[in-house]
């Protein structure tokens, strides 16, 4: 049985986030790719994370080969960060809702960075960096959730199976 995300964690994961997905290749090398969208299932036991097939080739190959997955999601304005891990992730079909979720996540991320003093026009730049034309959807049910907010308590386990 997977972890049941709390309502607060669910709200956080559906908010404005900077996200990265990690995996480990068959050769033992860890790899990472920026994710560009996240949808939490209604039962709060699984998530679907979206990334670009071309930008995340190594991560996707590692996951296809059976690697465990990790997702780190951070709110730029507060640095509040969660890390969720699962023993495996599965590719699922990309829906119109996924495309919409990705566009919404990227736009919110860019808008928040602009309010934090990063370059004006960053939202438009990010839309170019993180296009939605080759999205891949990965679904996983987290086995463990960590508080990863920078500081001495980073790494504290919030929930596990």
């Amino acid at each position: 049985m997977s972890v049941l995300l709390t309502p607060d964690q669910t709200a956080f994961l559906q908010g404005t986030l900077s996200m990265n997905v990690g995996a480990v290749g068959r050769d033992g090398w860890p790899c990472v790719c920026r994710a560009q969208g996240l949808v939490v299932a209604r039962d709060r036991r699984s998530l679907t994370v979206l990334l670009s097939a071309s930008r995340g080739r190594a991560v996707l190959e590692s996951l296809d080969a059976g690697s465990a997955i990790t997702l780190v999601a951070s709110r730029p304005a507060t640095h509040a960060t969660l890390q969720l891990k699962a023993a495996r992730a599965a590719r699922v079909g990309v829906s119109a809702a996924h495309h919409a979720a990705s566009a919404r996540c990227v736009a919110a991320f860019g808008a928040e960075l602009e309010t934090l003093g990063y370059a004006a026009g960053l939202s438009a730049t990010l839309a170019g960096v993180l296009p939605t034309d080759d999205l891949v959807a990965l679904r996983f049910a987290p086995d463990i959730v960590f508080d990863q907010t920078p500081g001495p308590d980073a790494g504290r386990v919030l929930a596990h199976t």
Binding site: G28, C31, G151
Partner: protein
């Protein structure tokens, strides 16, 4: 590697947080934010080690990681395959990262939780451009051109006074720097004194900084350039707070109370540290990596000039003494304290240390014999002055003394009459008291 690590230096300034992916021995991935990915050389980066984290546990067991960095403005991502080599907990790299982390931490609002435990050094094995279809960020202004303009403005300097005047003004022309100061290492090697400044309401000439304290002191102690790109709330690096001896009278450093960018560059000539060039700005990220490179070159040039000019022989012929009207008016009360060679005029602090001792010697000599013309050679031989046998900084001490007098007590002046020669000018009679 098809992509050079040098070309990624704009990504390694802490503007946008990097992430680092590691693997535990059982193959579980971990991704964490890295506060700082620091460019070490063309093959190495260093990551800040602040907490005993999963990342650290993983790399100690399985020393392979991937670091993702982002180019500001273009937002192009790059991934670095890296191999953990070692952790440094002291020395130049550690001190540089510690200072720079203070700026990064303040920018990210995390100043209270960021403290550097070590600099984790990694060899970079491969660099991947994640976004090859995107255009790179516009190139920053050419630092070499800035340096060339600076040298052009500096021109030929045949004495130290002119060099002290021009060294900072040239930076304004070349780099657009509006606030800077030049501090030289004193005879003890334990402190620096300000010889010249640019762009402050008070010149701060004579202000001292203890070695190892603040950004200027760290740059001097480690003989490394230190650059902080963002306003830092870490008072450790506030140049203004550091003085050589807090208990003694002091001249405040004139620096900005709230700088958003700071750089301190050592002035080194061979292995010999001459002083530190410090510049600051109210803008974030004012100084680039390339600016740092260029200012290091400029610092070496200034150091060589200072050493060369200080070694020139004094003029042989004594200058003719001009007739001087006898000073009139109420006498100035000049008080001297031998324990720190401090001099007060009408109860206002003027100067201390070697410069104070020189002034007191000159004034006493004048009172006893009426002499007004002096030369550096006789001062070097004078047993009353606390000058070391070598590297006495006498010429720069005299420049400092002349400037301090001009600012605080223009009734007493030192006028240059030739190389290594100068004249004491008095506009008021003096009353000398040793306290």
């Amino acid at each position: 590697m098809n992509i050079s690590l040098e070309s990624l230096r704009p990504c390694l300034d802490g503007a946008i947080p990097a992430v680092v992916a590691t693997a535990s021995p059982d193959g579980t991935p971990n991704v964490a934010y890295a506060s700082q990915v620091h460019y070490v050389d063309s093959e190495h980066v260093a990551l800040s080690f602040q907490f005993f984290s999963k990342t650290r546990e993983n790399v100690l067991a399985h020393p392979y990681a991937q670091v993702q960095v982002i180019e500001p403005k273009s937002f192009r991502h790059f991934r670095l395959k890296v191999h953990y080599l070692r952790t440094e907990t002291s020395g130049p790299l550690f001190e540089y990262m510690k200072a720079q982390l203070a700026g990064i931490a303040a920018r990210s609002g995390m100043a209270k939780v960021f403290a550097l435990r070590g600099a984790d050094v990694y060899r970079v094995l491969d660099i991947e451009n994640v976004d090859p279809r995107l255009l790179p960020a516009p190139a920053p202004p050419d630092a070499l051109l800035k340096l060339r303009r600076t040298f052009a403005h500096l021109g030929a300097c045949d004495d130290l006074t002119r060099l002290a005047d021009r060294a900072l003004a040239a930076l304004a022309h070349g780099f657009g720097i509006r606030h800077a100061l030049l501090a030289l290492l004193d005879e003890t090697g334990g402190a620096l004194y300000t010889l010249a400044s640019l762009g402050y309401s008070a010149s701060g000439v004579g202000a001292e900084v203890a070695l190892g304290e603040g950004l200027i002191g760290v740059a001097a102690r480690e003989a490394i350039p230190v650059r902080i790109n963002y306003h830092t709330g870490d008072y450790t690096y506030h140049a203004a707070l550091y003085v050589a001896d807090p208990a003694s009278p002091r001249i405040p450093l004139p620096v900005l109370a709230d700088p958003h960018s700071q750089i301190a560059v050592p002035l080194t000539h061979g292995e010999y540290l001459v002083g530190v060039l410090y510049a600051e700005s109210e803008e974030n990220a004012f100084f680039s990596h390339a600016d740092e490179d260029a200012l290091v070159v400029y610092g070496r040039h200034l150091a060589a000039l200072i050493v060369q000019l200080a070694a020139l022989p004094d003029d042989a012929e004594p200058a003719l003494a001009a007739p001087a009207p006898a000073p009139s008016g109420a006498p100035l009360a000049v008080r001297y304290f031998a324990h720190d060679h401090s001099v007060f005029v009408d109860n206002d602090y003027l100067i201390k240390g070697v410069a104070g001792s020189i002034l007191w010697t000159l004034l006493n000599e004048h009172a006893a014999s009426g002499r007004r013309d002096f030369c550096n050679r006789e001062l070097r031989r004078d047993p009353r002055l606390p000058l070391p046998d070598f590297g006495d900084n006498l010429e720069t001490r005299l420049i400092l003394l002349a400037r301090r007098l001009a600012e605080r007590c223009p009734q007493i002046a030192l006028e240059k009459t030739g190389r290594g020669r100068f004249r004491l000018e008095l506009a008021r009679p003096l009353q000398l008291n040793a306290g």
